[in-house]
Amino acid sequence: MAGEILVIGGGIAGLTAAIEAAETGYDVILVEKNPYLGGRVSQLNKYFPKLCPPFCGLEILFKRMKSTPKLKYFTNAEVLEVTGEEGNLRVKVKIKPRYVNENCTACGACKEVCPVEAPDDFNFGLKTKKAIDIPSIMAMPFQYYIDDRYCDKCGECVSACKYNAIDLNEEEKIIDLNVASIVVATGWKPYDATKLDNLGYGKFKNVITNMEMERLASLNGPTGGTIQTMDGKPIETIAFVQCAGSRDENHLPYCSAICCLASMKQATYVREQYPDAKIYIFYIDIRAFGRYEDFFAKVKADENIEFIKGKVAKVEEVDGKLVVTAEDTLTGVKNKREVDMVVLATGMQPAIEPIPGIELDEYGFVKPKPGIIPAGVAAMPMEVASANESATGAALKAIQVARR
């Protein structure tokens, strides 16, 4: 077993690829740009179709990680450049300071004294955090970090820390790795909804994205899991707008594969809290492939969930209510619904920023080449199950090179 394997990205695909390769007996290094592992799925409330919490699978992954000495990881780490060829790839990695070292026991004394409130990216700014904080309640590593965009280095936390865990002078490091193969599992980001001018995001506060809905519904989210309008009112009517950016030449020409199912899942969140709420799902095609059709059938059976075929043309605010208008291009028939809240099923965009040595296709997805193996949504849009499959297959391709 010659070379090491590098996995870029510590979301569900990266974790799976790294753990599967390490458990097969290979040395693996995982780098993650966030201060925590778990990626997008750690922001989700539940998975479709089982409506089970992502933390459940993450817990097992983290546990496996802890008992696999062959797997090492760096958070706050970004790949700057890849050179060389399959079997002998050289990678430059920037490790940004966390300012909190492994002495941290996550006791939380630092957070209590931190005077700086900062927007919480994990919650899409729907709530604040402290400049020193723990990314989430299930964070791995379970260790605080300082967000240096907001920290003013007042030093309160340093005095409060009994464990000598905070170093405000920690500096950025560049490390050079030499690996046999690289799994690129850089995942996705939600398409920027402000680009969808006709749908009112950023203009009307009760137009939110599907990822924001995940946070609203999460127990550790901004509202403690209560789904409500941004003015704190209960939901009587809500509309989900499918293909918000996806399947659209002006935005994302491809289909994001998961948004239909994600919206149906979110419809069940609303239903759980509001037994009588009217839920409208505007769609072009409902893409509930494979066994997920069962989930579609279950959601469709709910009388108060109406599926309306048609692409949404606009969202307006009329007398404090949101009005969603969909138009059928063939018939010209217009469908209007007045609602309290609109959820845009924004699509998945590859999250990777250009890295010299890694090729991207026209949409920004990672192209495979010898020794460089895309996995999960870095390769194409897919849901969690497919991402895990893709990642496991990527682990095989990676070990084939590493064993030579």
């Binding site: 409506l51 089970c52 026991t105 299930m138 464990y163 095609d285 494979g290 949409y363 969690v384």
Partner: protein, 746 residues
């Protein structure tokens, strides 16, 4: 373990407890001089432990939850037990005398467990690392090639005389790599060549499997190749037997069997391979071809699921019509399902002016003046449409080759057996003959496992797994399914899928070679030992093991196969004779831990509710993390409760309950994962089994004149941290209401 060291951390508010009293527990009750450090997980703290290690067999860390600082508190070759004083006591309780008593009990439990643990040794065998691939279609070919490329030998077994499977029977295929825009020549012939030329792959065509016995690393395979038996040994298996088309003769509503010119998508492929698309009735060229989507799929009466690829297949076949006849193709669909980058293919086909795509429902298919007419209703235009057709192609769906097979006994319960809730459609069998008849329907692996010959399935014949998070993890260690046998998918997906299953098979052979288990307790070398002299052949363990690890001799005595075992402890929970134990997780250890809890004197004055004692057996995968998170959120619960983590609720033996009750514990709560069709248990049915066993316990309690409420099972999920404390407190109050355990003090 004889030499146990005890280390108490006084950091993170643990020093709010009386540390000297904790030290006294170790000293006076166990004769151990505990050491205290204010930051045990620091370098100096760990150094303190390291300095003593040579003198120790086991280390008790009385600090934070076992879920944190795990790597820091791992010491090579030493048994580690954690007493959860931080999340379990100081962060989840007001600090008072009760919290102190709780902490002391946690220390007693941890020291007892450490003392009762034994040193595990791996079960080592001479193993084969070769891998068997069953099925020679695209998935199987890819799996074999990828296994060979990883340096392992593959045996490829195909029942047909030729390799290639369905893909070899297709005229053209969808693209297998981006851009997904053009139809392509099938790749399968290239794959076949590569497989045939690879010296690390041994191919057997016209061959089926007569038997596979043994365990991972040492599966003995007997195949039947044209009547001749061939034997070989492999370490792991990839099942890639693919799919079969849904039986179109059941699709009378679409005119199949009634009109000669109604054919299936599979039949169209054959026709196209002949180079022409014609009416079957008179051989005339088919100029107008109508494709009907969801011919059986998404229909409760046929295949309730979606076959994922039929929309794309029909688009591809529409292109055949364009290329071969220059005629028109009409595709009638419910939803056009071309997810992800396949949207590009859909868009490309939309550019073709001879391909008409219409959403609609089929109202009728009839013959008018010798021509077929398709009546479509519920279209987007709001009106009914009639399309004259030379040929109607039904886009029939894919059925897993496991569907309809006799897989495992639990899917075919007899009248006496209660079916498991995760079995979607248990099929009742009445006699052993029924089983023999069922077995005639065909077979794939013919596993010589006591529980049945094939991979257990979930719904629709898809192999059972936690399919969102761990899609390849089957219920048979070393055996992994890939391709259309696992879920409906197209060729591009099959190729990807084959790699994943190949990796899992390779991983399994590497792990079992070192005596280690696989997911989810990967790397665990400890395995269950059976003290068979005391076995009463009740067969509970052999029936309940979710992984089929135990076979049986003719008397019904279990014959363990340690390399099949996933170390959940369900067998150990099942055994009424208490004869199953791991070295590091044993009946004696757990029962002693229960008995180590200090139960206050029963002669208390009225109203001394704080002398009640409760035990919560918490699944370490879901309930325990949820309790940790409750603590992090500062949610408090009754300090009268002692939480004892278990590998799985299925590993809770009723003897623990009996011991607890006879010791004077007032109530016992088991908290574990959800069960049923959408089960979350990582050991498939541990929580369901716990539930069943406790139903029996309830009867016993009533016989002993104890209230059945004293023992309860609760299902939670890991994010129910807001609810678990409430559940616990409610339980505690309920039992306090009922009154103290009358056996206290006896």
């Amino acid at each position: 373990m004889e030499k146990v060291g005890v280390y108490i951390c006084s950091g993170c508010d643990i020093d709010k407890l009386d540390i000297d009293k904790l030290k006294n527990v170790a000293k006076e009750e166990f004769g151990i001089e505990a050491k205290v450090h204010p930051h045990l997980c620091s370098k100096e703290g760990v150094e303190l432990i390291n300095n003593d290690l040579s003198e120790l067999d086991a280390v008790v860390i009385a600090a934070c939850s076992p879920r944190v600082k795990t790597a820091v508190f791992t010491f090579d070759g030493k048994y580690v037990e954690r007493a959860n004083l931080r999340e379990g006591v100081v962060w989840s309780h007001d600090i008072d005398v009760h919290a102190q008593e709780l902490a002391e009990d946690y220390l007693r439990i941890a020291i007892t467990k450490a003392q009762k643990a034994e040193k595990p040794e791996p079960h080592l065998e001479e193993v084969s690392k070769d891998i068997l691939v069953v099925g020679g279609g695209v998935t199987g070919l890819t799996a074999a090639l990828e296994i060979a490329k990883a340096g392992y030998k593959a045996y490829l077994v195909e029942k047909e005389p030729e390799l290639g499977g369905w893909a070899a029977k297709f005229y053209k295929t969808l693209p297998i790599t981006p851009p997904y825009t053009q139809i392509e020549e099938p790749v399968v012939s290239k794959l076949i060549e590569e497989v045939k030329n690879n010296e690390n792959i041994e191919v057997y065509t016209s061959a089926t499997i007569d038997a596979i016995s043994g365990q991972p690393g040492m599966f003995d395979v007997t195949i039947n190749q044209n009547g001749n038996a061939v034997n070989f040994r492999v370490g792991g298996i990839v099942v890639a037997t693919g799919w079969k088309p849904y039986d179109a003769s059941k699709l009378e509503e679409f005119g199949y069997g009634k009109f000669a010119d109604v054919i299936t998508n599979v039949e169209l492929e054959e026709m196209a391979r002949e180079g022409k698309i014609v009416r079957k009735s008179d051989g005339g060229e088919a100029k107008n071809v109508v494709f009907i989507q969801c011919a059986g799929q998404r229909d409760e009466n046929h295949l309730p699921y979606c076959s994922s690829v039929c929309c794309l297949v029909s688009l591809k076949q529409a292109k055949y019509v364009r290329e071969l006849t220059g005629g028109n193709a009409f595709v009638i669909y419910k939803d056009m399902r071309t997810p992800g980058l396949w949207e590009d293919f859909y868009k490309e086909m939309q550019q073709d002016e001879g391909i008409f795509l219409t959403k609609g429902e089929i109202k009728d298919i009839k013959e008018e003046n010798g021509r077929l007419v398709v009546e479509v209703t519920d279209t987007l235009l709001g009106e009914d449409v009639e399309i004259k057709a030379d040929l109607i192609v039904l886009a029939t769906g894919m059925v897993s080759t496991l569907k309809g097979l006799y897989t495992v006994k639990e899917e075919f319960p007899d009248e006496k057996t209660v079916p498991y809730k995760h079995i979607y459609e248990p099929r009742l069998i009445k006699s052993d003959e029924d089983v023999e008849v069922l077995k005639q329907a065909g077979h794939i692996l013919n596993l010589q496992y006591r529980q049945g010959p094939e991979l257990p399935t979930l719904k629709y014949g898809f192999p059972d797994s936690n399919y969102i998070c761990f899609p390849y993890e089957s219920r048979r260690l070393g055996i992994y399914a890939a391709g259309a046998v696992r879920a409906p998918m197209g060729i591009a997906s099959c190729i990807e899928d084959a790699k994943g299953a190949a990796l899992k098979a390779i991983q399994a052979v590497e792990l079992v070679a070192e005596g280690k288990t696989t997911f989810p307790r990967t790397g665990d070398i400890d395995f269950p030992n059976f003290f068979l002299q005391r076995c009463t052949q009740c067969k509970r363990c052999t029936e309940e093991c979710p992984f089929g690890a135990l076979d049986e001799d003719e008397k019904g005595t279990p014959m363990p196969n340690p390399l099949r075992c996933r170390r959940c402890g369900i067998c150990f929970g099942a055994c009424p004779e208490r004869i199953v134990s791991f070295k590091t997780y044993s009946i004696d250890q757990m029962a002693s831990a229960v008995k180590s809890i200090y139960v206050p004197d029963p002669n208390w004055e009225e109203g001394a509710e704080d002398k009640f004692r409760f035990i919560v057996f918490a699944c370490e995968n879901d309930a325990l993390p949820a309790l940790d998170m409750a603590a992090l959120n500062g949610i408090k619960y009754s300090p009268l409760v002692r939480v004892i983590p278990v590998r799985c609720l299925g590993s809770v033996n009723t003897v623990f309950i009996a011991d607890a009750l006879s010791k004077g514990i007032d109530g016992i709560l088991l908290i574990g994962c959800k069960f049923g069709e959408d089960y979350q248990c990582h050991f498939i049915r541990g929580s369901e089994l716990a539930n069943r066993r406790m139903e029996n316990v309830a009867e016993t309690l009533e016989r002993l004149m104890l209230e059945p409420e004293r023992v309860q099972v609760i299902e939670v999920s890991i994010t129910d941290w807001d609810k678990i404390p409430e559940i616990i407190d409610k339980f505690v109050n309920q039992i306090i209401e009922i009154g103290a355990n009358p056996y206290k003090g006896f």
